[in-house]
Symmetry: C2
Subunit: 312 residues, 2 copies
C-alpha cells in the first residue's frame, strides 16, 4: 500500500464515436430500403435547463447519425392528458420508430405522471426501455430495447476489455433507470452482483468488495477512496450540475481543468466519484466524457433496432 496508482481513464466519447460510426452503414441501409430514415420522436415538456442540454445533445447526435429526429415541445403548463395525446399520436405515426419523453416532467403533472407516460408508449417504440413489458423482458434476458445507460455501460466495459463474468460487481443506487437494470445486465453476464443504497450500513466497505463499482446516486464526489478496491473498475453515472464554488473547491485541485471550467461558466457537471479515486482504481470513467456519450450512442442504436424490427 501507500503506492499511488493512476487509473486508466475510459474514454466514453471515443467509444461512443466508435458505436455511432458502426451504426451509420446500418442507418443508411435502412434509409435506402425503407425510403425514409429511422425516426426518433423526442418530447420535451417545459424548460428544465439540464433537460435542454440533454435533449440538444440527443437531437444533434441523432441527426449526425442520419436519423430523422422530431423534437416535440410542450409548454411547462401542459397537462398530463395533452402529453398522453401527443404520445398516442407518436405511437400511431408511421415515421416515428422510437419515442422518448425526457424526464423529469413538471411537478404540476403529479407524482405518477412519468410512469403513466412510460406505460402509454408503444413497447415496440420504447427506446428508453422503461415500459413494464420491456423491463420484464430485460429481467428475463430477452429484451429487444434495453435502457440506454446500463446497456451503454456494458458496451463500455466490453470495448475496454474489462471482464464481467466471475467478477463481483457492486451497484450503488437502485433506480429504475440505472441501478436495477444495471444489476440485471451484470447478472446476465455472470457477475456476482450486490446492490446497495442509502439504507446500506457500512456502505464504503460493501462497495470496496467490488471488482466493478457502478455509482449511480447523484451525489457529487460521494464515492471516496475508501469505497474502492485497489485496481477496481469504477463507473461514474452521476451528472449533477454544481453551481456552488465551495463544493467545486472541495472536490477539485487548484489549477485543475474542472476548476477552470467552473471559473469560466459558473456551473459544471460533477459525477458521484471523488477525484482522489483515480489513485486507487484500475480504470475509471470521467465526468463529463464517460457514461453520458454512451447513453446517447445506445439511444441511436435502440432507435435503429426499433426501426428495423418495425419493418420486419
Amino acid at each position: 500500500m501507500g503506492e499511488v496508482q493512476t487509473a486508466r481513464l475510459i474514454d466514453g466519447t471515443a467509444i461512443a464515436a466508435e458505436i455511432r460510426a458502426a451504426a451509420i452503414p446500418a442507418v443508411q441501409a435502412f434509409t435506402n430500403a425503407a425510403g425514409r430514415p429511422p425516426g426518433l420522436g423526442i418530447v420535451l415538456v417545459g424548460e428544465n435547463p439540464a433537460s435542454e442540454v440533454y435533449v440538444r445533445n440527443k437531437v444533434k447526435a441523432g441527426a449526425d447519425a442520419g436519423l430523422w429526429v422530431d423534437l416535440q415541445r410542450l409548454p411547462a403548463g401542459a397537462t398530463l392528458d395533452e402529453l398522453l395525446r401527443l404520445v398516442d399520436m407518436l405511437n400511431r405515426s408511421e415515421r416515428h420508430d422510437g419515442i422518448l419523453v425526457q424526464s423529469p416532467l413538471p411537478d404540476a403533472m403529479g407524482r405518477g405522471a412519468s410512469q403513466r407516460v412510460f406505460d402509454a408508449i408503444d413497447p415496440d417504440k420504447d427506446v428508453d426501455g422503461f415500459h413494464p413489458v420491456n423491463v420484464g423482458k430485460l429481467v428475463q434476458g430477452r429484451a429487444h430495447l434495453k435502457p440506454c445507460t446500463p446497456s451503454g455501460i456494458i458496451e463500455m466495459l466490453d470495448r475496454s476489455g474489462i471482464e464481467i463474468g466471475g467478477r463481483h460487481a457492486v451497484v450503488i443506487g437502485r433506480s429504475e433507470i440505472v441501478g436495477k437494470p444495471m444489476a440485471m445486465l451484470l447478472l446476465q453476464r455472470d457477475a456476482t452482483v450486490t446492490v446497495c443504497h442509502s439504507k446500506t450500513p457500512g456502505l464504503p466497505s460493501v462497495a470496496a468488495r467490488g471488482d466493478i463499482l457502478v455509482a449511480a446516486i447523484g451525489r457529487p464526489g460521494f464515492v471516496t477512496r475508501e469505497f474502492v478496491k485497489a485496481g477496481a473498475t469504477v463507473i461514474d453515472v452521476g451528472t449533477t450540475p454544481v453551481r456552488d464554488r465551495a463544493t467545486v473547491e472541495r472536490l477539485f485541485a487548484e489549477g485543475s481543468a474542472r476548476r477552470e471550467a467552473f471559473a469560466k461558466r459558473g456551473s459544471i457537471v460533477v459525477g458521484d466519484v471523488h477525484p482522489s479515486v483515480a489513485d486507487v482504481a484500475g480504470a475509471l470513467t470521467p465526468v463529463p466524457g464517460g457514461v453520458g456519450p454512451l447513453t446517447i450512442a445506445l439511444l441511436l442504436k435502440n432507435t435503429l433496432a426499433a426501426a428495423e424490427a418495425r419493418r420486419r
Copy 2:
C-alpha cells in the same frame, strides 16, 4: 466459536395456515358479493410425478379455502398449440380469475414453450406473476400479482419478526421464478442484496456475508456450515426429490426422521441446506414444511386478489 447454537425452526406450515385462515373471510365475502367463488384454473400437462404432488396440494388447499379450483389436464403428447388454445379459453372465461400452468412442460413442446405460455396468460389472471408485464411491475415496485415463492418468503420473514431493512441479504440462484424476483423484493424492503450463482468464485465466503441467506439452486445439501454467518436467517427453497440411499445417508444422521421417512417411502424431498447448518444459523426453514406451504398460501392470496381486481 466452538459453541453450538441450535437454529430456531421457522414453521412454514403454521404460518401458511395463518395466512389461509386470514383469507377465508375475504373469500366468503367475495363469494357472497359475486355469487360465485374466486376461480383458479390449473393446467397440468403430462404426468410428471413431482408436478402431480404439487398440483394435488394446490387443488386441495384452494378447495379448503373456498376457491373453485378447475384442474385441466392435457396428455403428455399435447402440442403447444393445444395448450395455448386452452390458455386462451381460460383467459376468456368469466369464472376463472387466476390461471396457473404447472412447470415443467414436456420437453417435446420445445425450449421456449414455457415462456410462450406465460406470455399468453392474461396478466390480470397471472397468479404466478411470470408474465413480462408483471415482472416489470415487480421491478418497479407496483406489481399486483407477485411470484408466490419469493413473496411467500417475505411474508414468512415478516411474520417471524425477522427484520429485512438494513440487512445484507444474499440470494444463491438467479432463476426467473425465485432468485431474481426475490432479489427485487428484498431490495424494495431496503435490504442490501447480493445475488450469487454457479459462476461466483468463493461462493461460501460470499454467502457467509448474508444476515439473510436464501438458497434456491436445487442441489441437495449444497449449502454447508461454511456458507452461513453465525446467527443468520437461512431460507431453504430447494425441494429436490432424492431416491438415492447414499445421498440420504450422507446428509441425515442415523435414526433421524428424514432417514425413517426415506426407509418407509424410498424417496424424500431434500432442500439445498445441509442439516448441519442448524448449528450455525439463528433461524432456518425446514424442508418439507418451510417455504413450500407459503408458496401455496400466496397462490390462494393471488387468486383472491385477482378475483377482487376483476370485479372492480
